[in-house]
């Protein structure tokens, strides 16, 4: 069956027998996934198109709930509770588990307002507190120097790489526990990609990170643990170097050596 290592350190999330079926689908897209997510580490999810890695990622912040009709079974444990329970407060959950998307999604407002958005949603109005936290978030996202003189400018004036870093600043400004990255560099040029990858490694000191990527080399560069998924199943989860050099499953090895895309 699947080879999933035991995470010795603390877990940020724990997935147990998680099954997910899209609305109207005849079969589940995710089949009984069991997976620990290490705290203060980067876990990468890799696999061919359609393997379910993005579906799994979007389950962590219950993004699927935006589109009614999907069903799921099993459990995802976070902060001592099952976040799949119907009574789960989704608004609160999403302030603890943030998400960065495939394309930069700067809101139609100023740079400052973008970063402050999550905080304002939580009711923080104090000007100096907002300004302080916005500056810190932008510094942590390695964007402060570039934008500090134009915080009131429209965020759409930034380049793609800058906008993605803006989205990261926006997400960490609310001080989440976990950050989900959904192929964050797929729309970016190589230099911006490098910047984002550097950021991901720096950020793991404070948040636990799960990153979905199409790019195996990126997973190898950036992550501590890697999970290989195929056709809705988690085939293997292990330390990144071990998985890439000495994979335990044949399927994993075939994917890594490019036998199928």
């Amino acid at each position: 069956m699947a080879s999933i290592i035991d995470i010795q350190d603390e877990c940020a999330l724990h997935v147990r027998d998680f099954e997910f079926t899209y609305k109207g689908a005849s079969a589940p897209s995710l089949k009984k996934i069991t997976m620990p997510i290490a705290k203060h580490a980067v876990t990468a999810l890799i696999g061919p198109s359609g393997c379910g890695k993005t579906t799994l990622l979007r389950s962590f912040n219950r993004m699927h709930d935006l589109y009614p009709g999907n069903t799921y079974a099993g459990e995802i444990e976070f902060e001592g509770r099952n976040i799949l329970a119907p009574k789960e407060d989704l608004i609160h959950l999403r302030t603890k588990i943030g998400m960065i998307f495939q394309k930069p999604t700067a809101f139609p407002m100023s740079i400052f307002d973008n970063v402050a958005y999550g905080m304002r949603l939580q009711g923080i109005k104090n000007k100096s507190e907002l300004e302080g936290r916005v500056e810190k978030a932008l510094q942590d996202a390695a964007l402060w120097k570039e934008v500090k003189d134009r915080l009131k400018h429209d965020a759409n004036g930034l380049s793609g790489g800058q906008q993605q870093r803006l989205c990261i600043a926006r997400a960490i400004a609310v001080e989440p526990e976990v950050l989900l990255f959904d192929e964050p560099t797929s729309a970016l040029d190589p230099i911006s990609t490098q910047g984002i990858e550097k950021l991901v490694i720096e950020l793991k000191e404070r948040v636990s990170i799960i990153i979905v990527t199409h790019n195996m080399q990126q997973a190898a560069r950036v992550s501590d643990y890697t999970g290989f998924m195929y056709l809705g199943e988690l085939v293997e989860l292990g330390h990144t170097e071990e998985l890439f050099v000495t994979p335990k499953e044949k399927l994993t090895q075939e994917y890594i050596t490019g036998k199928f895309g």
């Binding site: 608004i91 609160h92 949603l121 939580q122 009711g123 923080i124």
Partner: protein, 281 residues
């Protein structure tokens, strides 16, 4: 209350208000439809279809004249508007494409689609009715035809553009001249869409009253003479409904009912064709 709790309450209120407006809008639809159907069905009888119009108070009056007149006017308008509209739309999609001229034509045509139809009536009055010296079916049909052209033009342009370029290239690669590519491949590929556009255009034009008011005017009697004023369902509804005579008002409701059913029917038919056309793909 925390800020988030406040947001949740506001969210509830906002969504409720939105849904309420949708219910209100739907409420008006049903009110109007109900009124239309109940009055219309009450007023329906065989005389409507067999008897011509008559002065108020007559026992045997009907709407035959208006029904036939409407068909004539809309039919003529279709003969004028559809070929011109399709040809113009073909030009835009297949020849003009992205040229400045093509964009100008699209823009002007779009504006005309929303322009007041009564003004078209005034225009046709000046160029057809005045020289002829009297109202005529020709004038009415021309007015309706002019209104129809931008609608057909737009749908044809849009639908033809949806046909993949590779289909055209394949035909060209076999040595077909451009007009044959268009007629055999492109038109065929956009068939459903163009047909829908035509049906919707007819539906839109068939409900127009204002442009007929002083072009084909109206007539209480049956005629098929295109050189004379031609009765129409829409203007008849207007005249009868606004009159103080109860039997005329009844006929007005019957006419309104028949007209609406026809137009809604065309609309639904058009959408069904588009829907099933998409499904087959």
């Amino acid at each position: 209350m925390t800020a988030t709790q406040k947001r949740i309450v506001i969210n509830r209120i906002a969504l409720t208000l939105s849904s309420l407006s949708a219910v209100v809008a739907l409420g008006f639809l049903f009110w109007i439809l109900y009124v239309l159907v109940s009055n219309g069905i009450n007023a329906l009888n065989w005389n409507i279809f067999t008897m011509e119009g008559a002065p108020p108070g007559y026992e045997d009056s009907g709407l035959k004249h208006a029904l036939v007149g409407q068909l004539i006017l809309v039919g003529l308008a279709t003969l004028i508007g559809v070929p011109l509209g399709i040809m113009a739309g073909t030009y835009l999609s297949e020849y003009g494409k992205n040229s400045r001229l093509a964009h100008a034509i699209r823009d002007i045509s779009d504006i005309m689609m929303s322009a007041p139809s009564i003004v078209i009536g005034a225009f046709v009055y000046a160029v057809v009715v005045m020289p002829m010296g009297h109202f005529s079916a020709w004038a009415g049909a021309i007015a309706l035809g002019i209104i129809m052209i931008p609608i057909i033009l737009r749908t044809t342009d849009d639908m033809l553009q949806l046909v993949p370029g590779t289909l055209r290239e394949a035909a060209f690669a076999l040595g077909a001249p451009k007009y044959k590519v268009i007629m055999d491949v492109v038109y065929r590929g956009a068939k459903a869409g163009i047909l829908t556009g035509v049906l919707l255009g007819i539906a839109r034009v068939g409900g127009e009253t204002a442009p007929l008011l002083f072009t084909s005017f109206n007539d209480n009697f049956f005629t098929t003479d295109l050189n004379e004023a031609m009765p129409s369902l829409t203007v008849t509804i207007f005249n009868y409904a606004i009159s103080p005579y109860e039997d005329w008002q009844q006929l007005g409701w019957a006419a309104a009912f028949i007209l609406s059913m026809f137009i809604l029917g065309l609309n639904i038919l058009g959408r069904l064709i588009l829907f099933y056309g998409k499904k087959r793909k």
